[in-house]
């Protein structure tokens, strides 16, 4: 899971994290930045605030959310608005992939006119994946296979040319996801927004299948074809 700012993983993929953690998987969350400049408006309104204090507060929130959901948090602290990614960070992420050998990767949409750190993060997540696959990158190490890449839902889907191709049932872990929302004190205005998103994606999931018990869902776009033995 590669997200741009330290709260993105909660709104966009908190259900997937909690679901897989509940199944006993190891789930790694890499945050390239704390979103300290561009996604912490509420914190900045406090008197005497500094960049370091904002980053600490954001780190605490993200850590608490990761703990609650059952994921491991790793923060690269690359800055935000604008995020800049040196090649070392790319290699560090490639190392994470090789060490973890993930079954799949979750990241941002490929476009987002509201937030240029998001598509950059998606690019980095993908480019590091390709580097980790290269036999000649740090030769001798065990190269990465071909994990699927899933793009989670951006704030305004249509403006980002993002389409939901997968609807993941997160009903069993919804309460956890909502609790994680409430740990994100800096962005309280998003709690209800993303609750409504989860409910409407749930309605759509039930409608697009015969699984009428689904109440909450998360939506993802695939980057690569789904290789399978089943059409379903």
């Amino acid at each position: 899971m590669v997200s741009a700012h330290s709260a993105d993983f909660v709104w966009r993929a908190g259900g997937a994290i909690a679901l897989y953690a509940s199944r006993g998987w190891r789930v790694k969350i890499v945050c390239l930045s704390y979103g300290e400049r561009g996604e912490s408006a509420k914190l900045w309104r406090a008197p005497g605030m500094t960049l370091e204090k904002v980053k600490e507060a954001r780190h605490r929130e993200a850590q608490a959310a990761a703990d609650l959901l059952g994921g491991e948090l790793e923060c690269f602290d690359l800055g935000d608005y604008p995020m800049r990614v040196p090649d070392e960070a790319l290699y560090r992420l490639a190392d994470v992939y090789r060490e973890l050998q993930p079954e799949f990767v979750l990241t941002h949409s490929l476009e987002d006119p509201y937030n240029f750190d998001h598509p950059l993060t998606a690019h980095v997540a993908q480019e590091a994946r390709v580097i980790a696959q290269a036999m000649g990158h740090k030769p001798g190490g065990s190269v990465l296979g071909a994990p699927g890449v899933f793009l989670f839902e951006p704030h305004q889907t249509e403006q980002c040319n993002w389409k939901p191709q997968v609807l993941l049932d997160i009903t069993p872990v919804w309460e956890k996801k909502r609790q994680a929302f409430e740990l994100m004190a800096a962005q309280e205005y998003l709690w209800d927004y993303y609750t409504r998103v989860a409910l409407n994606r749930g309605v759509q999931a039930a409608r697009n299948s015969n699984k009428k018990h689904i109440k909450y869902a998360e939506a993802y776009q695939r980057v690569f074809p789904h290789v399978t033995e089943e059409l379903s």
Copy 2:
């Protein structure tokens, strides 16, 4: 499985048919037309040929292929080049859906500048599906659920704006599919073409996963989101 002409199902979805038949599923193949005018050039070169004789020959070939692959064939005989679909045919297809209650539907791509019967068939397959879902269509019958719709590979994918989102491993049934090709005497020039398609989709399937044993694959585009409990 709704195909336009009576050989389409062989090239484009013969693997899926054989695979599911081999698992004991009931697989129904609806051919809206025999392709008697536009896809039977070789037959027309025989002396004394008539429309009826071409249709009979095409029916025999399609029946033999369906038998080999393990599917049930139903032909609507609506004509081709151009195909015209009266509402009765639409309702008849809706009846097929309701009787069968399929887990999924396979049909043509949404566009095809080389063959206007193909996108029309895709439209009909989808419209009949929606009619079969309508509670007020033949009220009292058991309505259709929400089976997924998969669009199989057209002859020139890029010109049809078709994208492979699912790669189905058909290695276990490849020999059956190739044998079915060879029953299509009227279109011998396609045997090797679609063998190469299957091999290259197989290479792609192996590359897009860690399933290095895949040698042959069929590709499909989804119409609706995949509702699932798994990201894979």
Copy 3:
């Protein structure tokens, strides 16, 4: 306002209708069908139900909603699932345009794999508009100008390739729109769904402007360029 089924106008454009009616405009609602077969599942569950009774119930609901919102209802009763539109209906709609001389036209999205009556209605709304503009159609009458066409929000926007280009503030009339929802007894499961849509579009409207007072919004896609003296 040209909608396919007799409840569509409530979910998708009820705010615009109430807003313009509240400003003293004449707002005309044309429903091509009652949605009696495909959008009245709840009614069909009642014992002894017939097509005529469903249509009557749907007409009553639609009339009540139109009255509440302040629009004039006209039903063409063309049937649904599938809807079929004879040329006479097209000419009748062209007459409506010419009589009304609307400032703008609202209708469905151009694509919708869940509902083929919707894009057909959008096509009819546009084709009738062009006919009404033709000097040689019923010559002597007063031809239609060039009213803008706005496509209202479909149930699953991304699958319909629909994009919100206009966000209309409907906060002042929200209560009316919600009350109209509650008149649609046949589709109660949509009340909350479209309330959430309105709230999330409201958040987006506030975010895409400095109008922080917006709480509810409706979204539209434009067909034609916006001709203006202002960039805003």
Copy 4:
């Protein structure tokens, strides 16, 4: 050349017609309609005008333009706004293709929200082409090969999702094309519009090549790949 209304061929492909006629080719112009209702506003302003008189005037104009440019005119008189195409017209056009065996076909863009007769004509031009290729259509006749299809420039290109892939130098025949414009008395307001289009496409043609002598050009979109021995 298959055009919807009897003046379309002048604005959109008059240069290609004149160019090929000047090289001694036989150029056939099929007009499906006279555009008597929707594209003859000026004529309808005359007192005592009737549909028949408009059609006669439009026929005279089109014939004069065809004569000037060097093409053969054939009018199907199918009506306009809306145009309706019975299968007989489709077969008649297929006969034209078989008789003529054209090297290429010119027709309208695939989309046009301003004019629904145009994309219908493009569809008909293509579907008739495929029918003419079918061995079993009027068996015994000589089937059509695979002529390329070029879509000429619509009035508002971007709204029609049309892209110029070919820029044809029409400088040598520009004067003829402009004269043909001036024969279209019913649509005088388009003379300068399409002169400006030709000049700006000419600037683009010069810029996209080293042919600095080009002053006037016509633009086309291809439907099919260009099969060639040259990259140029």
Copy 5:
């Protein structure tokens, strides 16, 4: 207004600048480069020309055009072909936004295969806007709201995947715009080209509305939805 090279604002947005200046608005024009290497061919043909001289000449022309149109010019002098934008330039532009608090921003199209400085400028204009919105960027300053972003017309619209969504009537200020063209001595060959563009966009504006008095227009694509109380 953020343009790549020092003449771009004249051809592409000179009308908007003159129009808003004539209404008493403060209009700021930021040119990232003088276009001294790639858009000054005529100047380079003079004997003894140097980069500095070209930049001076381009600056004089741009200043004269800005004065005539009524805008304030600021040049960042970042070089061209290729333009390279250090983060300091991005922050400087963010400062301009914060100081000015613009109602809207005009810039280049998102793609342009003829000129890579143009999409880069569009990216910079948008990224700086997002930085200026970030509470934690130079905290304590007054952050930017959410001004709309309008993309002006590129030289070959279809190749740039750019669509006109807004047609701005510039008839009242056309003479000023044409005079500004004639100050651009280095690119005389574009005077008539963009005059024709303005006339044809004017015809389209009249056709897409009932404003038959429009003679000249400029076209823009929106990046964000239009938040409004009016459908028009």
Copy 6:
């Protein structure tokens, strides 16, 4: 011809190179990298392998293939996975263009989620072309004209949003191309894959024309419109 890694030119454009070389043209092949890290898996499996040895082996293979096909090889050795292109490399490529004055340029597709070096190379090939056209870049030199840019076929076309607009008949030089494949010992698994691609593109070329003798073809997408005196 600008390719990312030192074998790309063989699979993707080997036919065009051999064809034009056989006609006596000078064909230049620029490889930005050896693909030493990401496209040399087989070599890395040998014991004691180092980056330098891999590069040497790849250089030898590429040189042998270039010699066989008849092209001149120039390697920029910029590294791969990820490739990074300093401005000096861009200027060096611009110098190559100016020295060679090519009739056309071949390069990679604009997108490729499997390989980020490929779209970067396409960007560099295009940006250098535009720089070489700039009168003010190294003034006094002879600037580049407007050679067409053709994008050769990526490994998975649909995922790269690449479309074949040109099918080049490479039947006369096929044997050479296949021999060049066999020199690429490091990527033996691609020999048959690209043989099948060439055969299927050949079938398509024959089908899209009346040139039934075509057996092998290469496909290209155009970036710019084709300026021509012929529609064919």
